[in-house]
C-alpha cells in the first residue's frame, strides 16, 4: 500500500511538471488528466473514496469535453511534447526544483500534511466525506444555492462569450 502511494504521488508530481513545462495543449491536457487521476488515487488511499469518485466522474468528465473542444480549436500540425528541448528542459527543471524543495523540508512536513481522514473507522457511523456531503445539504444550504447560481451565471457567461458564429470570441482560425 505504501509503495502504491509512493507511485501515485510520484505520478502526481510528474503530471504537474508535464502541465507546467509549457508543451502543446494536447500534452498539457494529458498531464492534467494524469494529475487528476493520480490525485483521486491518493484520495482513495486516504479514505476519501466518495470524494474521489465525484472528482473523477464529474470534474474530469466535464473538463475532458472542454479539453477535447479546445484541442480541436487549437490544432497544430507539429505538437511539442517532452521530445522537444525547451519543454524537456523546463520539465526537468521543475522536477529538480521539487526534489530540492522536498529535500529541504524532508522529515518535517509529511506527518501533518497526509493524515487519514477517519481514524478508528469501526467506531463511527459515517465516513468523513459522506458526512461532509450531509453537512453541505443541511447547514451549508445557503452556500449550495449560491454555488448553483454561480454555475448558472457561468453558463450564461460562456454562452455570451461564444455566441455569434464568426464574430464570437472563440473560433477556429
Amino acid at each position: 500500500m505504501v509503495y502504491m502511494m509512493y507511485c501515485l504521488l510520484f505520478g502526481l508530481v510528474v503530471g504537474l511538471a508535464a502541465v507546467a513545462s509549457n508543451p502543446s495543449p494536447y500534452f498539457a491536457a494529458l498531464g492534467l488528466v494524469l494529475v487528476a487521476g493520480m490525485g483521486c488515487g491518493v484520495l482513495v488511499g486516504h479514505g476519501g473514496s466518495f470524494l474521489s469518485l465525484i472528482l473523477f466522474l464529474i470534474y474530469l468528465g466535464g473538463m475532458l469535453v472542454v479539453f477535447a473542444y479546445s484541442a480541436a480549436l487549437a490544432a497544430e500540425p507539429y505538437p511539442e511534447g517532452w521530445g522537444s528541448w525547451p519543454v524537456l528542459g523546463l520539465a526537468v527543471g521543475y522536477l529538480v526544483g521539487v526534489g530540492v524543495a522536498a529535500g529541504m523540508v524532508m522529515g518535517g512536513w509529511y506527518q501533518e500534511s497526509w493524515m487519514v481522514c477517519d481514524e478508528f473507522g469501526e467506531f463511527s457511523m459515517l465516513r468523513g466525506d459522506i458526512s461532509g456531503v450531509a453537512m453541505m445539504y443541511s447547514s451549508g444550504g445557503g452556500l449550495l444555492i449560491t454555488g448553483a447560481w454561480v454555475l448558472l451565471l457561468t453558463l450564461f457567461v460562456v454562452l455570451e462569450l461564444t455566441r455569434g458564429m464568426g464574430r464570437g470570441a472563440l473560433r477556429a482560425v
Partner: protein
C-alpha cells in the same frame, strides 16, 4: 447584448462584491471575487472586437492567477492555523501571499503590467467599471488583513506611485494614462494602509469620484487620444474649461479635492517618522502631475488664437446624460473646504 443577460451580469457584479463584503470566511471571500471576475468578462468582450477580446483574455488570465493564489494562501492558512477566519490570520506566510495576490488583483506596481494593456482594449464605460467597482472587493479584503511585514506594503505603495508617474509620461493614449493614474493613486492608498485604514478608504472614495468625472468627460467628448482632446473645445466648450480642473484635482493641486487625500496621507506618514518616504511619495506626484498638465495643455491652451492642432469635427447635439458628471465634477473640484468634515466622517 440582450438586456436580460446584461441585467443578469450586472446583478452578478453586485452579488460578487456584496458576498466579499459580507464574508468573514476566506472561501466565501474568494468566491465573491470569482463571481466578480466572471460577470465582468462578457461585458468586456461585448463588442467582439479583437482588441477587446485580447484585453478580456489578459484580464481573465491575471485575475485567475490572483484568485488561484488567494485560494492557495487561504488553504495554507487553514492547514497551518486550523481556521478560515479573515480576521484571525496569524501565520506570516499566508498573510504575505494574500497581500501579493490582492496586489495582483488591483494592479499594484510590480504586478501592474496587465492594467494599462487591459484598459486600452476596452470602451470608456467598461473601463470605468473596471477601475472603480472592481477594486472595491479586493480593497475590502486588503483592509481586513493585518499585514505580517510592514515593509511589504510600503514597498508596494511607493513602487506604485513611482511607476504610475513614470509609466504615464510617454503615453499618447488616454486610457493608458488613466490606467497609470489609477496605479499611482492605488499606491498612495497602500502607503497609508497600515497606519490609518480610514484614510485609505477616504482616498479610495475620492479617487472614485475624480476618475468617474474624468472617464465620463472623455466619453462625452468621445476622446481616446491626445489629438482628439485638442478639438474637444469645439464639441463641448463649457466641459472643456472644467476638464483641466478635474485633471489637476487628480494631480493633487491645493485648492481642489485631489489635494485632500494626499495632504492627509503625507501628514500621517510624517507622524509615523517616515519623512523620507513621504518626500519620495510627494515627488512622485510631480511625475503624475506632468502628464495631467500635458493633457490640460492639449485641451485648453491650444485653442483658437493659436494654430489648430487637428481638424475640427462637426458639431452635433450630444444626447448623453450629463447630470452624474455635473455632480461628480463639482465634487471633484470643490470638496477641499470640507476637509475636516470629510475626514471626520471616515474616522471610525
Amino acid at each position: 447584448m440582450n438586456p436580460y443577460i446584461l441585467a443578469t451580469l450586472l446583478f452578478g457584479l453586485g452579488l460578487g462584491t456584496t458576498i466579499t463584503f459580507a464574508s468573514s470566511h476566506w472561501l466565501f471571500a474568494w468566491m465573491g471575487l470569482e463571481i466578480n471576475t466572471l460577470a465582468i468578462i462578457p461585458l468586456m468582450a461585448q463588442s467582439h472586437h479583437p482588441r477587446a477580446v485580447e484585453a478580456t483574455t489578459k484580464y481573465f488570465l491575471a485575475q485567475a492567477t490572483a484568485a488561484a493564489m488567494l485560494l492557495f494562501a487561504s488553504i495554507s492558512n487553514a492547514w497551518l492555523s486550523g481556521q478560515w477566519d479573515i480576521h484571525q490570520m496569524s501565520h506570516p506566510l499566508p498573510t504575505t501571499l494574500i497581500t501579493l495576490a490582492l496586489a495582483l488583483k488591483i494592479g499594484l506596481a510590480p504586478l501592474h503590467t496587465w492594467m494599462p494593456e487591459v484598459l486600452q482594449g476596452l470602451d470608456l464605460t467598461t473601463g470605468l467599471i473596471l477601475s472603480t467597482w472592481q477594486k472595491l472587493a479586493p480593497f475590502c479584503l486588503l483592509l481586513q488583513v493585518q499585514p505580517a511585514n510592514a515593509t511589504l506594503l510600503l514597498v508596494l505603495g511607493i513602487t506604485s506611485t513611482l511607476v504610475g508617474g513614470w509609466g504615464g509620461l510617454n503615453q499618447t493614449q488616454l486610457r493608458k494614462i488613466l490606467a497609470y493614474s489609477s496605479i499611482a493613486h492605488l499606491g498612495w492608498m497602500i502607503l497609508v494602509l497600515q497606519f490609518s485604514p480610514s484614510l485609505t478608504f477616504l482616498t479610495l472614495l475620492v479617487y472614485f469620484i475624480m476618475t468617474f468625472s474624468l472617464f465620463i468627460s472623455f466619453k462625452i467628448s468621445n476622446a481616446t487620444n491626445i489629438n482628439t482632446l485638442a478639438t474637444s473645445w469645439a464639441k463641448a466648450p463649457a466641459l472643456t474649461s472644467i476638464i483641466p480642473l478635474i485633471l489637476l484635482s487628480l494631480g493633487g493641486l491645493p485648492p481642489l479635492t485631489g489635494f485632500l487625500p494626499k495632504w492627509l496621507i503625507l501628514q500621517e506618514l510624517t507622524k509615523q517618522d517616515l519623512a523620507p518616504l513621504a518626500t519620495v511619495a510627494a515627488l512622485s506626484a510631480l511625475l503624475s502631475l506632468f502628464f495631467y498638465l500635458r493633457l490640460s495643455y492639449a485641451m485648453t491652451l491650444t485653442m483658437t488664437p493659436n494654430n489648430l492642432t487637428a481638424t475640427l469635427p462637426w458639431r452635433l447635439p450630444s444626447l448623453q446624460t450629463t447630470l452624474p458628471l455635473a455632480i461628480a465634477s463639482s465634487a471633484t473640484i470643490c470638496l477641499l473646504p470640507l476637509a475636516p468634515a470629510t475626514a471626520a466622517l471616515f474616522t471610525w
